[in-house]
Each structure stands twice: as structure tokens, then as C-alpha cells.
Amino acid sequence: MNPLELDALAALVPDGALMALPPDNSLSPAAFARALVRRGVRGLRLLGVPVSGYATDLLIGAGCVASVQTSAVTLGEAGMAPRFSAAVAAGTIEVIDATCPAIHTMLQAAEKGVPFMPLRGVIGSDVLAHRPDWKVMDNPFAETGDPILLLPALAPDIAAFHAVCADAHGNVYVGRRRELATIAHASRRVLVTVERMVDGNLLEDERLAPGTINGIYVEAVAVAERGAWPIGLLDEYRFDAAHIAEYARMARTEDGFRAYLAQYVTAPRADAAA
């Protein structure tokens, strides 16, 4: 598997795709999201696994998004996600609320190839009241009535994330962020940006194999140096809190958001300069 250019990787995402994204503390593919804005993708149905941050807010602001299924959209210390809030107020995106472990569970069901999986809790939450696709039934193993939530399997069309490195076999190294493996296993197509390509086979190295996702699951890879920025990447580089604060400030208005896009996303070599 030869790595693609970043924009070529973004071109593999069709309009309308159900795309899973990790949150801002776990290998978020920020450069890839900026490439999707440049490509002008439309109608994305985003899935936050289990919550959403910068990349989701950016794609919403750029008009790329039809719906967001998530357990929360937040910029963390920088506060509310401004373009998400504006879109909810304007009614321009559909919000499908979930709760964190329910999203993990729906993906685990897809990973396992079963049509549903149970989860405790949630009963009595209005999240459940607004999920006609979720069901409550009595636990068939209980002697007396024991209502339990059943969640349907959810297989994203695409999962995208930013990993540390990849090899020619398509294996990608995510380190301790093993929850990305579940996302990759559950998704029909997996697109990955990485800091760098490495020689050899990550899975044949006993020290690297435990943090490696098998290339079986990976369709394509692109090199994007500092591709998580302004999000951090394991011990490679830290979260850029000042930039996220600047984003939160600029994106408070539509005009400010346009200025952000011009400066950081659509400017020539914006990502290369990052």
C-alpha cells in the first residue's frame, strides 16, 4: 500500500457518507478534516466516538455536514463548539444524541458482526426517548422483570483518524489508543493519516504490534505531518490550547469562521504551514 496525498485521501470520501471521528483527545484527524473542507464534501453524517470536537465543528461550519450523531460536541477548556451551537440554533443540521457507552456498544456490535448488543443504564433518559432505533426489552436471563437497553449495530461507512505511522502493509500504529481498533474494525472503510511511513512490518515487531491496527481494516493512508494539530498526538506533540482558544474566538461569528478558514484551511499550503 503506497501512501496517497492528503487531498487524494479526502477525495475518497463520498458526499453523504456516515463518517466516524474520534474526539479531540484521541488521534483526531484534523488535517484530514481541513482537506475535506477544501474538497467541498457535502452532506456528511458524522459520528462522534463517543464525543466530537474541533474537526466536527470545523466541518459543520464549512457546510459539509447534514447530521451529527454524538454524545457531546465540545472544545473542552475553550468551551462550547460555536459552529455546532449556531447550526443547532438555526436548525441546519440534524442532531442525533447518544450517550458515550452507547456509541461504543453500537460499534462493538458491528465489530462482532452481531445485530445488537445490550447496555445497562440509560432507561429514563430523554436520549432514549428520542432514539426510535433503540429498544428496551426484558433481560431473558432474569427471573423477574429486568428491562435492559438493546442497541443496534452501527457500521460507519468510513472511519478516519490520525495515527503515528504506517507500514507498506497498511498496518497503522495507534499506541495506547486501542479504542481506535474498535472503530476501525466496525467501519466499512478506514482512511488514516500518519506522521510518517516506516519500513518493515509493524505487526511482526513484538514491541509495536500491541499498538498496531492490522492493515486488513485499512483502505488507504496519507502522510500528514503534524496531522492532528491543533489536537495533540500521544507523546509526539501536545494539544495546542492557544490555537483552539483562537478557533473558539474566531468561530463565534460566521465572518470570523470564514476568516479562520481563509487563514488556516484554504490558504495555499495551509496544512503544510501548520
Binding site: N25, G76, E77, F84, V88, D97, H104, G121
Partner: protein
């Protein structure tokens, strides 16, 4: 020893709730994102010498899990997390939490970030300490617009626990699950039963209560030294604001 910072008082109040001998044991506490005051309370308990395991989910380095938040939720599902902290954009008198928004679904008047894991964690841990610094009729409402997570559940619904207490910037409320009501437990210095009453949108038991105790001198010394040291990497802004500490210079201590 300088004056007690109001946030130190909240930290101390939460630490005492953690150590409440009447509550189920807190051997393993998890602390979620952007929670400097609960995190500091947990560190204080630990630095006081209590054998508690802390899983701090948002340390930039050394995250305790290798399967992300899924591992946290699995642990909670197994019953291996004894105590968690939750808040809410709205909290009502039955301890229902609203992290989703106000007005029509899904928060058309004002959207909050979302439910996070509240609809699960609130059921799975033997106890939850609710913390919301803003104490106003805007936050503490008669009935939440949207229930992210219910305070109590009907008989037959699997649930290990609910709110132990609600700590605000004005007072501490204890929660009684059987009656599904809060009662005033202590009032922070500078507040009165009346200022609490006026700022609270829901009905609660107890017209008066003792003053919330300040942290002891020993506790303050721990907060300003070793607890701050532990917090500095994750919450630099909080440490600067409360303890006037910047950078990692003092961390070697």
C-alpha cells in the same frame, strides 16, 4: 496561612463527601474532563493518606486506559468504579440532570454540549457527587427541560446508586434517593439560608444548616503543595488562578 480561597472550600467540601463513612466505600474514583475541583478533591483525599485509586481521564500523558473511555465505561459497568462526578446545565429537585439543552429537543433554546456518559454512569456507580459552581434559578430548576440522566429510577430498573450530594458555590445539598429530594447540608461562608433559598429553583428539605467547614491548615498545606503539583500539568490555568502557580518549576517537589 493566607485566607481560604472559595474554590479551596469547595475542594474541601467534596473531599469530606468522598470520605463520608456513611457512604459506600470509594476505593476507585474516576474523574472526567475539565473537572479541576473534583480532581483536586480526589488528590486531597489521596494525599491525606487514604488508599484510593484515581483514574483521571484527561491527563495529557499517562492516561490510565488503553481502550480509551470504553474501558472506563466497561469498568463502571462491572461495578469497579465506586464514585464519579457529574454536573449539568440544569439540575432539578429530583436530581435529574440536563446536559443536553433547554427548550425543545435537542436544545433549541440553548444547546449544551451533550449527555456525555451521564445516562450510563449515573446508574452504574454506587454514588455520584454532583458539582455545579453556579448556584442560580437558571441552573437549579424545578424540572429540567430535558432529562439526560434521571436522578431516580422505578423499581426493577438496574441501578447501583445515584447522587450522594450536590455541591454548589453556595452550599452542599445531601440527596435522599428514597424520597427523591435534596436537603440542605451546609451553607458556605458568606451565604445564608435565605440567599440559598432565593437562588434555588427547586424545593428542598431543611430551612437551615451549619456553615460549611473550611479546610484545615494541614489540608490547605496539602492543597497548595502536593495537590497543586499533581494538578499542574492537566489544569495549569486553574492552578494559576487559585494558587498563583505557573509552569512546572515546583513540580519536582
Amino acid at each position: 496561612m493566607s485566607d481560604v480561597h472559595p474554590q479551596e472550600r469547595l475542594i474541601g467540601a467534596i473531599a469530606r463527601l468522598i470520605l463520608d463513612p456513611a457512604a459506600p466505600p470509594a476505593r476507585h474514583i474516576a474523574v472526567g474532563a475539565a473537572s479541576p475541583i473534583p480532581a483536586a478533591a480526589c488528590w486531597l483525599v489521596k494525599k491525606l493518606g487514604h488508599p484510593v485509586r484515581l483514574s483521571l481521564l484527561h491527563r495529557p500523558t499517562g492516561n490510565p486506559f488503553t481502550e480509551g473511555t470504553r474501558e472506563l465505561f466497561d469498568l463502571a459497568g462491572q461495578g469497579r468504579i465506586d464514585l464519579f462526578f457529574l454536573g449539568g446545565g440544569q439540575i432539578d429537585g429530583q436530581a435529574n440532570l440536563n446536559l443536553i439543552g433547554t427548550g425543545d429537543w435537542p436544545g433549541r433554546a440553548a444547546r449544551f454540549p451533550g449527555s456525555f456518559g451521564s445516562a450510563f454512569m449515573y446508574f452504574m456507580t454506587p454514588r455520584t457527587i454532583l458539582f455545579r459552581e453556579e448556584h442560580s434559578q437558571r441552573v437549579l430548576v424545578p424540572r429540567v427541560d430535558i432529562v439526560s440522566a434521571p436522578g431516580v429510577s422505578p423499581p426493577g430498573v438496574f441501578r447501583r446508586g445515584t447522587a450522594q450530594a450536590l455541591v454548589t458555590g453556595k452550599c452542599v445539598f445531601a440527596f435522599d434517593a428514597a424520597s427523591a429530594r435534596f436537603s440542605l447540608a451546609s451553607i458556605h461562608p458568606g451565604e445564608t439560608a435565605e440567599t440559598v433559598r432565593d437562588a434555588t429553583g427547586f424545593a428542598y428539605d431543611g430551612a437551615s444548616a451549619p456553615v460549611t467547614a473550611d479546610p484545615s491548615a494541614a489540608e490547605l498545606a496539602l492543597l497548595r503543595g502536593p495537590v497543586c503539583d499533581e494538578m499542574l500539568e492537566t489544569y495549569p490555568e486553574f492552578c494559576r488562578r487559585v494558587w498563583n502557580r505557573t509552569g512546572l518549576a515546583g513540580r519536582a517537589a
